[in-house]
């Protein structure tokens, strides 16, 4: 078989080395640039990747091993504090050294790349397979958009890739607030006297710092001045560095078999945000998997390509998901600046959902102990989710809400027409620490939830009310919009509900979530009113706030509100508006906000997975400065410890299943 490899980057060269070593196939490499023309700084490898590389090619790994810089700490610097996290083994290598080792081994296996040679679609005649290792701007991927079905997402932050003339002691994050906004550096050593130093910031801070038209030299000086404290005289370097926006690339298919088969590897197929430093790792793992598959199916290219794609898609997708979480973290990290040092560090370590409390406990027990102390009211040594919390007059013995924790009632309807289903209680019954009051609004008058939600009653139903005359599903009739009389009555019903709860519980939760009556006013998807209760977020909040104020006047205990901070549907409530809502609640005497999502409309797209509501909860907790309760795929004590220890939530609703 004759294979054309397009691109002499890590993916193309490593693939060629592995393929040539296995013999059999004829490999030819094309690289548009001259040898050693590469630029860039260091690339990072985890211990896991190194083990795989060692298994892939022993000789090559030995060379690599000698050129690697290894470390096992992460240092996190803020103007007022520094935390060193231990037990984080990583390694890095100069990109130039990596490519020259790969190039040397290619030669040893009899491959001499055709440098300064373009290989474009149309040049494939005479080859049995084209391996497109031609990087993010892959001409081969772009040639067949309907096959590969790629999708590019441009990230909102700006970054610039610089170098530092000094070897740092390990992975290093430096956070520098400026009047224009927060800047952060992601840095790590990769040689005896050099480190990578990537500077990132938000678009607003970038613009406000007048970096838009900056020359390379100006950007460099800006960085040196900005990080002067941390750099302590060390110089930054640039190399064709410019301020960029990262692009996450995903492709549905990684190969085509029509005509001369083409397969994508490395950055040509996918990218993952630099803040989890894995582009080269993924590229080399792809290369190894492809070589493996071609060796396993020497006479069946299709089976080889299927095997390659099926083996690589899932781990790459997981990495991309983690990388997106990490990118999102850095977009919003300025919200976290007030967290205590250890909590901030723990939050950073757990940003991508791949590292939990238990993982950090194993690698750095000291940090975890400090995290527990920060969560504990008297700074006692403690497990974060098992520390007590007092809000108003309510003592939460642990941070767990639900089975085995703080006992919250099922929703109690404040009036007969506010019941979801006929047997929903309208009176407090049983022993609860907290009582939830609801009015189902457009979701009222349905059959019991055991046999499915939102199925209107056939007989014995009643008229439903909502912000606007919308039917919740096609089986519902339209709700009647609230009149000013209804508004007065509903406020009164909530007040009566609160009075009824007095003496039965210390916490009262008002339900303004998931499409119920109060929620129908908040979401732009369901509130189309043109009176003073519709329009801007301020107007849409007017009625829910009137209910809250009236309840606050009669309720002496702790007051909480639950609301949907995202509708998970196009045209739904924005993150800024959700923060506004939580702030307004707090200003009206609400002491705890439960962050929920979805439900405004019956069909939405909830991104279910472990902790899917945590990023929203964290944003609201830190920007609105209000204590937050959150659930959403959080089922274990480890999940709860991670959420509470990192300052993303104050209380965690643990799964009911």
């Amino acid at each position: 078989m004759k294979i054309a490899v397009v691109g002499g980057g890590p993916a193309g060269l490593y693939f060629s080395v592995l393929m040539a070593r296995s013999g059999g196939h004829h490999v030819e490499v094309f690289e548009r640039n001259p040898p050693n023309a590469t630029y860039g700084w260091g690339v990072v490898f985890s211990e896991g990747t190194l083990t795989e590389l060692a298994g892939g090619h022993g000789g090559l790994f030995e060379d690599l091993d000698k050129a690697l810089v290894r470390w096992s700490t992460i240092s996190i610097h803020r103007p007022e504090d520094t935390v060193r996290v231990t037990g984080q083994p990583f390694a890095a290598i100069d990109r130039k050294s990596l490519l020259s080792i790969l190039g040397r081994w290619a030669l040893l296996h009899g491959i001499s790349p055709n440098y300064e040679t373009e290989f474009q679609p149309g040049d494939e005649m005479g080859f049995d397979l084209v391996v497109a290792a031609d990087g993010i701007n892959s001409a081969w991927r772009r040639r067949f958009p309907e096959t590969f079905q790629s999708e590019e997402r441009v990230h909102p932050t700006r970054y610039i890739w610089l170098g530092l003339e000094q070897a740092l002691s390990g992975f290093t994050f430096v956070f520098e607030p400026t009047p224009a906004g927060l800047f952060q550096a992601h840095a790590y050593p990769y040689g005896p006297e050099e480190s990578t130093f990537i500077v990132e910031t938000t678009e607003e801070a970038f613009q406000a710092s007048e970096l838009a038209g900056a020359t390379e030299e100006q950007s460099l000086r800006f960085g040196e001045k900005l990080f002067a404290n941390f750099l302590a005289g060390a110089r930054l370097r640039s190399n064709r560095s410019q301020w960029l926006r990262f692009v996450t690339l995903r492709s549905q298919r990684w190969f085509r078999t029509e005509g001369v088969p083409v397969v994508l590897v490395g950055d040509a197929a996918h990218t993952a945000h630099f803040s989890i430093g894995s582009g080269t790792k993924l590229a080399m793992e792809d290369a190894a998997a492809l070589a493996d598959a071609l060796v396993s199916y020497p006479h069946d290219i299709t089976s080889a390509l299927v095997t390659y794609e099926v083996n690589r898609q899932p781990p790459v997708a997981r990495f991309q998901e983690a990388a997106l979480d990490s990118a999102r973290y850095f977009e919003r990290v300025s919200n976290l600046m007030e967290l205590p040092a250890s909590t901030f560090a723990f939050n950073l370590l757990t940003r991508s959902g791949r590292v939990s409390y238990l993982d950090v406990e194993r690698s750095d027990p000291g940090l975890v102990a400090e995290v527990g102390r920060s969560a504990s009211p008297d700074r006692r040594l403690a497990v974060p989710a098992l520390t007590p919390l007092t809000l108003g007059g309510t003592l939460f013995r642990t941070r767990l809400v639900g089975p085995g924790g703080f006992a919250l009632s099922e929703p109690i309807a404040v009036s007969l027409d506010g019941r979801r289903f006929p047997l929903q209680p309208t009176k407090v019954d049983g022993d609860w620490e907290g009582i939830v009051l609801t009015h189902a609004g457009p979701r009222a008058s349905c059959r019991p939830p055991e046999s499915g939600l939102d199925r209107p009653l056939l007989t014995g139903g009643w008229e439903t009310i909502a912000a606007s005359p919308i039917s919740y599903t096609a089986l519902h009739s339209a709700s009647r919009p609230l009149t000013s009389g209804d508004i007065e009555r509903v406020i009164g019903d909530f007040v009566e509900g609160a009075r009824g709860a007095a003496g039965n519980a210390t916490l009262l939760v008002i339900d303004a979530a998931q499409g119920n009556l109060l929620a129908s006013f908040i979401s732009p998807l369901t509130n189309h009113r043109d009176d003073e209760y519709g329009g801007s977020i301020g107007a849409r909040l007017r009625f829910p706030l009137a209910v809250i104020s009236a309840v606050r006047d009669v309720w002496d205990g702790t007051l909480a509100v639950r609301f949907s901070a995202s509708d998970f549907a196009r045209g739904g409530i924005s993150e800024d508006d959700a923060v506004h809502v939580a702030r307004a609640f707090a200003a009206h005497g609400v002491e705890l906000v439960e962050v929920c999502g979805g439900g405004a409309v019956a069909e939405y797209e909830p991104p279910y997975r472990r902790g899917y509501l945590l990023p929203l909860a964290s944003t609201i907790r830190l920007r609105a400065k209000v204590p937050v309760l959150v659930g959403g795929g959080l089922n274990t004590l480890d999940d709860a410890n991670t959420a509470v220890g990192s300052g993303r939530a104050d209380l965690v609703r643990v799964g009911t299943v």
């Binding site: 190969f255 078999t257 299709t302 089976s303 390509l305 299927v306 095997t307 099926v310 899932p314 929703p411 059959r447 939830p449 055991e450 046999s451 499915g452 939600l453 939102d454 199925r455 056939l458 599903t473 096609a474 089986l475 998931q514 998970f568 929920c596 999502g597 979805g598 439900g599 019956a602 069909e603 939405y604 797209e605 909830p606 991104p607 279910y608 997975r609 472990r610 899917y612 659930g631 959403g632 795929g633 089922n635 609703r653 799964g655 009911t656 299943v657």
Partner: protein
């Protein structure tokens, strides 16, 4: 974890009456359910008809569709058929519905493929309504109607399962992929405030007498998957060791019932499978 077996209702060239003896034997061998799959543009028996035949010759074993492509059916008639079968089998039906994966099935039935998710969501509610209201006869014998399962892997599918079904049926793959889906189903249940917990069902293909036949059947059935058909065929369980490991892995990740679907239309397959499962 319970283990069921599929009926040989979608294997081309079968004796259409084979499934009758198959059903009888499966019940005797102790399998907990008989499963059927749905595919319009393929030589396969209509799933509820196949289950009805099986119902007639069995008395304890559960009858499950995994899944019927709901949007292709008129909801009233589907509700009626399912209720009839539930009555006929004395409450042994579990009705799994999904949107399916093949555009040709929609073209054949004249249904708009792009509206499939929305149609299924409405259909689930409508079917339940018919089962409870009795305006369309008959009433099922199971209180409130048979249990409903939903398949699919999109966020909308998990939400649909939690809002309107009683559980989830996974489309196949390694235990790890089942576990990932199960986490999402549970998160959905919690999210919408649905009482109780979801039933979690799974499926896989097996064939014990002739590995080559397993391969060629699955390649043919999954021809629509293009180059990926071979991969699916390779995952067919053809040895006792593979089956035992597979069953154990699914058990460990909390599957409630695993249904093993046949690829070879020979009665001896029932006994062969039973001897491995019952070991």
């Amino acid at each position: 974890m319970r283990v069921g077996i599929g009926l040989p209702s979608a294997i081309p060239g079968r004796d259409p009456r084979l499934l009758i003896d198959w059903a009888r034997q499966a019940e005797e061998a102790g399998f907990t359910s008989l499963g059927v799959i749905d595919r319009v543009t393929y030589d396969s028996s209509e799933p509820l008809v196949a289950l009805a035949a099986a119902a007639a010759v069995t008395s304890r074993i559960r009858l499950v569709s995994m899944v019927i492509i709901g949007p292709l059916h008129n909801s009233v008639l589907l509700a009626r058929q399912a209720a009839s079968l539930d009555a006929l089998s004395e409450g042994r039906l579990t009705l799994g519905l999904g949107v399916g994966a093949r555009r040709e099935d929609y073209e054949a039935a004249g249904v708009d493929y792009r509206r499939r998710g929305h149609i299924l969501t409405q259909q689930l509610a409508r079917i339940r309504d018919h089962w409870e209201d009795g305006r369309v006869g008959p009433l099922p014998v199971s209180a409130g109607g048979p249990d409903l399962l939903v398949g699919g892997a999109s966020p909308a599918a998990f939400l649909r399962a939690a809002r309107l079904a009683d559980g989830y049926v996974h489309g196949g793959g390694p235990a790890r992929s089942f576990a990932g889906a199960a986490t999402k189903v549970k998160a959905a249940w919690e999210d919408v405030g649905r009482p109780g917990s979801p039933q979690l069902w799974a499926q896989a293909y097996f064939g014990l007498s002739d590995a080559e036949a397993v391969n060629s059947y699955l390649l043919d059935y999954y021809r629509f998957a293009g180059p990926f058909a071979q991969r699916i065929a390779d995952a067919g369980l053809t040895t006792a060791t593979q089956l035992t490991n597979f069953i154990r892995a699914y058990e460990e990740v909390g599957c409630d019932e695993l249904v093993l679907l046949p690829t070879i239309a020979e009665l001896s397959e029932v006994e062969r499978l039973a001897s491995i499962v019952n070991r």
